[in-house]
Structures are given as structure tokens and as C-alpha cells.
Symmetry: C2
Subunit: 466 residues, 2 copies
Amino acid sequence: MSSLFPGEPEGPIVKTEIPGPNAKAAIAELNEVFDTRSLNMLTDYQKSLGNYIADPDGNILLDVYAQIASIPVGYNNPSLIKAARSDEMVNGLINRPALGNFPPKDWADVLKSGILKVAPKGLDQVFTAMAGSDANETAYKAAFMWRRQHERGGAHVEFTEEEMSSAMDNKSPGASQLSILSFKTGFHGRLFGSLSTTRSKPIHKLDIPAFDWPQATFPALKYPLDQHVEENRAAEKAALDEVEHIIKNYHVPPCAVIVEPIQSEGGDNHASPEFFRGLRELTRKHNILMIVDEVQTGVGATGKFWAHEHWDLPHPPDMVTFSKKAQTAGYYFGNPELRPNKPYRQFNTWMGDPARAILFRAIIDEIERLDLVNNTARVGDYLYGKLEVLASKYPDQFDNLRGKGMGTFIAFDNPKRDQFLAVAKKFGVNIGGSGQTAVRLRPMLIFQEKHADILVERLENIVQSL
Amino acid sequence: MSSLFPGEPEGPIVKTEIPGPNAKAAIAELNEVFDTRSLNMLTDYQKSLGNYIADPDGNILLDVYAQIASIPVGYNNPSLIKAARSDEMVNGLINRPALGNFPPKDWADVLKSGILKVAPKGLDQVFTAMAGSDANETAYKAAFMWRRQHERGGAHVEFTEEEMSSAMDNKSPGASQLSILSFKTGFHGRLFGSLSTTRSKPIHKLDIPAFDWPQATFPALKYPLDQHVEENRAAEKAALDEVEHIIKNYHVPPCAVIVEPIQSEGGDNHASPEFFRGLRELTRKHNILMIVDEVQTGVGATGKFWAHEHWDLPHPPDMVTFSKKAQTAGYYFGNPELRPNKPYRQFNTWMGDPARAILFRAIIDEIERLDLVNNTARVGDYLYGKLEVLASKYPDQFDNLRGKGMGTFIAFDNPKRDQFLAVAKKFGVNIGGSGQTAVRLRPMLIFQEKHADILVERLENIVQSL
């Protein structure tokens, strides 16, 4: 197996404690002007390469966290350097357009050869955004406008005076009394609308005003999935029954449900394709929209370009949101009714960033050139197999191993999770957590068998040290 | 007077109707995948230069709209090209950090030599964001956390079980029952929290759920300001009385008030320094925060780097938000209590974009090199003087001329405003509107007397044609 990233280090190098003396000095300086309490590791990006992240003290770690799952094709990827040095990129950076008003003459081409080239099946339109939160929130806005247009009797029906005046006062009927249904332990962002659908941890939500929007139980499956088929099916049926009950009865009626293919921040919670097909069926039955949040699962990590391709849906989702590994953001849709009936209803000054759209195009080219989605599927299976062996040796340390067949989107629970994450750096691995107890693996798409071997070896070292 | 932008066209060139045949074909293609109903002009950014915007049919217009007031130092500015081609920029583009977890080793330096170098007086901290909407919303989040911390008795007081469980359900007390007070005809963004404070037009708000947050009347001043001192003072006093009444009585208590130095999208509505000093006094009296939204007014446009420098405040604002001409975004603050009491309360994956932060630093350098804030102050006075002459010749066409002493941040009302804007392109000028009837001038900071001469000549041509 040749290397997908020539010139990478052979393995991690740990020279000092982390943070070492250089990092400590720089962190102290940074803390004067920027909150550093969530700082994980001060990074030397110039020295980071491929799957390896470097720090200012000469430490080089195998990075299976990848900037919270958002580095797609490796640090200092030569193809991305080339794209970043192009005249087109310079133009996108320094002449930033208001895309809704003054799109560049080749914006259709940038979209079609980039963002839209990888559009999920059935979705051929895009609204571009800046990050996961506003991608989700603009999708919600599209959902509210769509539903109210239906209730109003169609796109041609004008707004009433009462609607217009009450909207200005944040009151109904102009401000709709509708909701977005989300799942417990789901994560969809941290701005006010997206945070109202986020149900990950109290620390994300405390003190922030929230909309009275409903949450449904996400099925709490038992792992490995293939050994708990019956009880998992029952849990999923109960969850779908709860969804339907909420759709029919919640006092602020949902016009859409948003769901992650794998709940990521919430602890790597999986559900079966049958569950998602059932959810799609329910949303169609009750004429509400299904928004799939692929901010963390999208762009190849699960061994498909989009994780919802695992579901074999009979009808595509209404909207699919993306960010992170795309390095840009937005929502895909197909139904023309999801274009609001008038201009300037879905609008903002920048509506995304062409520089970042150009970068996503280069990322897509690199994924295709190196066949990285298939790589991730294959390496994920390899890694999962090795983790199964570890889990049989240390069952308490690698509890609820999950993500089989889902590329490298793998996680397990550890009883000393926070300590596990902290000590991992000593063993040369940068790794993240999710939920209360999960260790989540989020390698880049260029993660290969040789990296899996190193990772598994270090994971064993870590648990032996705990 | 030498040219601030060597190589610029001598003047506008209008070769075809706009859109011309090339633009029409490209717009039709774009419309297949991207909503083009708000499209103003398809743009050839490669051919745009300095104050001049080009289109694919060879038309070149003097641009006093500047991507909705967001181009600071001219299209294809050589200093920005140089910054965009730097290794540092390439690194920022392709190795995008999760800034809260893995900041680059030189992030303190990037901030101090860029964003923080121009921090408003008294505000030495920054939380970086992506665009105006999330800059405002993260400022709101900081305000809610700050106020609840005070109510709770300090940073050391732990959250209660009830707070934590109710927050997860979007319910009080965990989700606070507090509000942000904004002004009628103000604009603060289009995501759910920011849109709840935006009061510009129904089309911006219709069908989107909103928080039950209060609005106060913005004083409706008469122009020219120096001829209506007494009645304007009375209007401002009434507005401040209303603000105080709302602070004391609104059933969802405000923890902050947000205000634009000049209401921009809402129609270029001015208020006096006394008004803003009164507002600052009221917010301090009632222990609520004052957030100044400098998204459109900031970065030199008003002849000061920040428009609120015109006010001579005895105490700085609590937070100042920025975006647009900064080409990045965020909020400044000074009070250490505005750092939430625990990590991960104010956090997201990217927390801004270092590539855009590096660009802002280059913009700041260019502003300093060319002394562009003073340029804008001087040219603004020159332009205003010429517009006063026009207004005396065509009083109905240049009604309520305003922005005296506020750099090039100038506007007037026109009875056929939409037609005015549409026909302007025929006369070689790209120009925008605000509110219902205003024509707003938003030239770049490199706008000089010679451009003002051309603009004034064309404005006369436009009104003669209406």
C-alpha cells in the first residue's frame, strides 16, 4: 500500500510534556486577549503534515481528531496549497462578493464543479452559508417559509397587513408559531435557532433563551448492533412512535425534523437504516420536512460521501446541511418550493465565501483523485477489526465499540474518558471525546492501515496506563 | 491630489444595457442552481479595479455600494493581493484550525497586530466570528450569561440541577427569560436571535419564529440636523424615556440594548452624540449592557475608525461588533466578566477564520499606510458640500440629505428611489438603497475628490432622467 501523503512522519514524536515550555509561554500571551480555557493544544500548523499535528515544542502527534472532524485531506496537502496559490483563490479572497447581489460571473461554474458536483442524490440546488450553525438555521428558515406558504394557500398569496405588522413586533401571525423537532442528545449548532435544537449538554445551553421546540428520544441502541437486533428494533419503534406523537400533538407544531445520521457531539449514537427510513416515511405522511445534518458525518468520513447514503431512502431528504470537512457550508435541496416565494427572504450580505467554496472544490478533486471515500470505507473496516480484538482483550476499556461498516467514524466508551483523552498525547495521539463517556475517532480521509496500526498500538498503551 | 489607487479607470464605461448579453446568459445558467432573484449585477471581479466594478459585457461602473458596504480598500488592491499570496495566508486557508481548541502558535500575534490593533478604546478582548449575524448573536450570548451570573450571585455559583435539566428542555430557569432590546428600523442580522432584534422590513422577518423581545422607537430626526435642534432633542428625549420605560417594565427583562451608530439597512437614520451618551447612561443606571453594532458603520466609513468615536462616551460600550469592511467578524469587549465563567460556554468549531483575520490585518495596514480614515473624513465633507448644492437645486430629489461630518456615510431620500437605483447603472454608477426611500452612499475608503466629482455629475444626470 503506497502512502497517500508522501513525506509524512513515520510515527508520532513526543519530546516534551504537552503543553511544553514554548507552548506555555505562547498560551499565556494569548490568554491576555483570547479565552484559552478550552485550548486543547497550541498548534504549529506550518510543521503539521498529513495525519500528523505538530506543536511549538517539537511534538508531533497522530491526529485522529482533525480540528473537530474538519480537516479532510491532511495538513499542508500539496493539492490544496496549489489551489490556495491560484489566481482564482486570490481573487475570491480579496474581492469578496455579496453573493446574492453581485455573484462572480463564474459562480455557476464554481458551484457545479465543486459544491454541487457532490450534491446528494435528488438535491440539485444549494444555499451557501458560512458554518454549520448558519447552514442549519437557514435550512430552518426555508422550512418555516415553506410551511407557512402551504398554510397560506400557495406562493401567489400575498402577506396580509396583520402578518406584516405583527412580524415587525416579533408576534404571531407574522412570526410563525411553528417549531423544529430535534432529538435528545443531538447537536446542531450554537446560535439561537440551532441551539434550540441542540440537546447535547447543559453547558452548551445554560442561560441562553430558547424557543419552545420539542425533542424526541433518540433510540438508545445496544452495541454491537448485530447482537441486539430485536431490542434495538423495539427502541427504534418506540422512538418513531414518540416522533409521530409529537408531530401530531405538540402545541407548537413542527414543520421539520432535523437529525444527524450519527449523533456526533452527543456521544456517537447510531440508529439503523430502518429507523431513518421510518422517519422519512413519517415526515412524508405528516407533510413535514426532513433535514439531515451532515455537518460532521458528511464528506466521506463514514465510507460514503454522505452518511445518509447508507439508508437507501426511497425519497431523498428535503434538505441536507454540510460544513466541517467541506471547509464551507450550506444546505442542499431539490424541491423548487423550498426557494421562498420572494427575493430577499433568504438572504444575507456574504451568503458564504467563494474562497472557501474554491477550496472545497479542490478537496473534492483530491478525494476523487485518491479515491478517498473507498479508502475510508476499507481502512475503517480494518481499524474496526483491530479494535474488536482490543475490545475483547479490554472489554471495560473499549465498551460499546460502534461504527462497524461506517468508515472510520468509530467510537467506544471508556470509564475514565477524560483521563484517557488527556493521557493520549503522552502516547503520541491527538484524540477527542463526545458525549459523557465516548472516545470518538475522527481521522482524516487519508488515514491508512499503517496509521491504524499505530493508533491501535497507542490505544493499548493508553488503557494500560490508566 | 495623487491617486490612492494607481491604474484605476478614468471614469465609468457603459457599453451595453445591464445585464448585457453575456451577463444574461450566465445568469440563466446560475439560476438553475442558485436563487438569482436578488441578483443586482453579475460581476467580473478580475476586471474590477479600485472604486470601479466591471461586468462580463465590458461595463465598468463607479461603485459606491461596494458589496453592501463591505469592500474597504478597492477591488484588486495590490497590498491585499500580496497578503493573499503570502505563505501565512496559504497556511490559514488550507490548515483551518478549530481556534478555541487548537489555535495556531502565532494567533496572539495575528490578533494583536490585526483585529486588536484597531480595538475600540477600552475594549482589549475579542471573540472572533464569521459574519455580522453570528458576531451579534455571540455578543447576545455573552450578555445573557453575564446577566444570569450576576443574578446567580457570581462566577463561583454552580448551576442547579433544575437549571441544567430545564435548559435541556428549552425551558426556564435553565433557558433564561431575558431579552435584548433593539430599536425600530434597526438591522442586526438574519439568524434567529439576531433577526429577533432586526426591525427593518417585514420581508426580512415574515414566517420566522421570533423571541418575545422588545423594541424602542428610534428618534425620527429632521434633517439637516443643525436646523432642527430643538425638535430633534425632544424626539431623542422621548426615545430615551421609552427605552427606560421598557427596561423597567418589559415582561421579558432586557439584559442588553443593541444599537447601530447610524441605522443603515433601516434607512440611514442618525441620532446625536447626546442621544448615545444618554443611552449609555441609562444602560449603566439599570445595569444592562450596551452593544454597539458597527457591522456597517465600522472600519473608517464615517471618518472615524469606529463610528461611536463620534460620541465622546464617558464609558466605552460593553461590546462592539464588527464585520463587512473588516472581512472578518466578531465582538470586542473589555470587562473580564464578559468571559463566561466556564469554558465551552462560548465556543464553536471554527470560531472565525484565520485567513480572513490575516486579510483584515492587511486591510488595517493599507488604511494606515494611506491614511484612509482621514481621507474618508475629508472626501466625505467635500462630497457632502457638493450634494448640498445639488439638493438646493433639486430639493425633492435629494430630500433629507444626511451624514454631514460622518465621512462618506451619506444618504438622501428620493421619491422614485427604486427607479433611481435601477437607472443609475445607465449613468455608470452602482449605488444601493436603504429603508423605504433612501439612496445610501457607501463608497470604499479609497474614494477621492475626483470620484466625488464624477458621482455628483452622474447623480444630477440620474435625477434629470427620472
